[in-house]
Subunit: 160 residues, 2 copies
């Protein structure tokens, strides 16, 4: 567990953007697989208190996705389309179906750091600072950090 | 031709966004069809000097699109995915393949003004002011206005 580090989460002062960065003891190929293979993705994404049920998944350029985060009788659904799926970069849209008019454009980069380590960088772009800041205040870092901690354990266990 | 008006094109001072607005003597259903039916769309989009060849088109939520703008031996390709296709709103991504790392998140609204008139509003969101401003300086308003003028003539002719 010594590899676990906090995710760097930053709000851009000039743009309605949230950026995150976290280094993993994994190759870019492993991180790409963890973000595109639905069974792997469902095992790590989100907070520890929720499970993920994939409802649709086509992680290819021009494809789309939908999943539910489930805790008991409570379900939150999310969906989007994959604009671009490349080994070093994924661009996708993201909507929480409880707020169907809100859309984020998300970009993920997998940057090879050498020695089997890779930096995951993400950017979420929305069309208002108010929406961006409300999301930052929502406690989203709990799900982000718990999710990435699960992913790190899967890497250590050889599951990815 | 008395219905033809210039498109209002505005750069947001706080956000890397371009907004456009134009009123049409058409219903929201007609404008929706003109943006989702590939044969209709190919007839009006772009400047008068180019023709459009649709290469892929699935204008449904989670679908995707790709087309080429052609003038003689010159071709420019564009592509994206449809995040959301509703009668009153389309959300899609947009990339010019000559600059494959650039992505815009585009939203189109069809607002019924009554009396068979509809306001088309669009918003293009990118992740830098520099990219937004370069696009504004590119002469894009020529293709926008010539394209919408073609669409207005199709409406007058009963083609939509």
């Amino acid at each position: 567990m010594d590899r676990i580090t906090e995710t760097v989460i930053e709000a851009d002062p000039r743009l309605p953007v949230i950026r995150m960065s976290r280094d993993f003891a994994a190759t870019a190929e492993q991180l790409f697989r963890a973000h595109t293979d639905p069974e792997l993705f469902a095992r790590w994404v989100g907070p520890d208190t929720m499970t993920t049920r994939i409802e649709h998944w086509d992680a290819s350029t021009g494809g789309s996705w939908r999943y539910a985060s489930v805790r008991g009788d409570t379900e939150y659904r999310f969906r989007g389309c994959f604009h671009d799926v490349r080994p070093d970069r994924i661009v996708q849209t993201f909507t929480f179906e409880g707020e169907p008019d809100g859309v984020a454009l998300e970009t993920l980069w997998f940057e090879d750091l050498g020695d089997g380590r890779t930096r995951l960088r993400t950017q979420s772009l929305v069309d208002s600072f108010e929406g961006r800041d409300a999301w930052l205040r929502s406690g989203m870092e709990v799900g982000v950090n718990e999710g990435y901690a699960k992913l790190e354990r899967m890497i250590v266990d050889g599951a990815v």
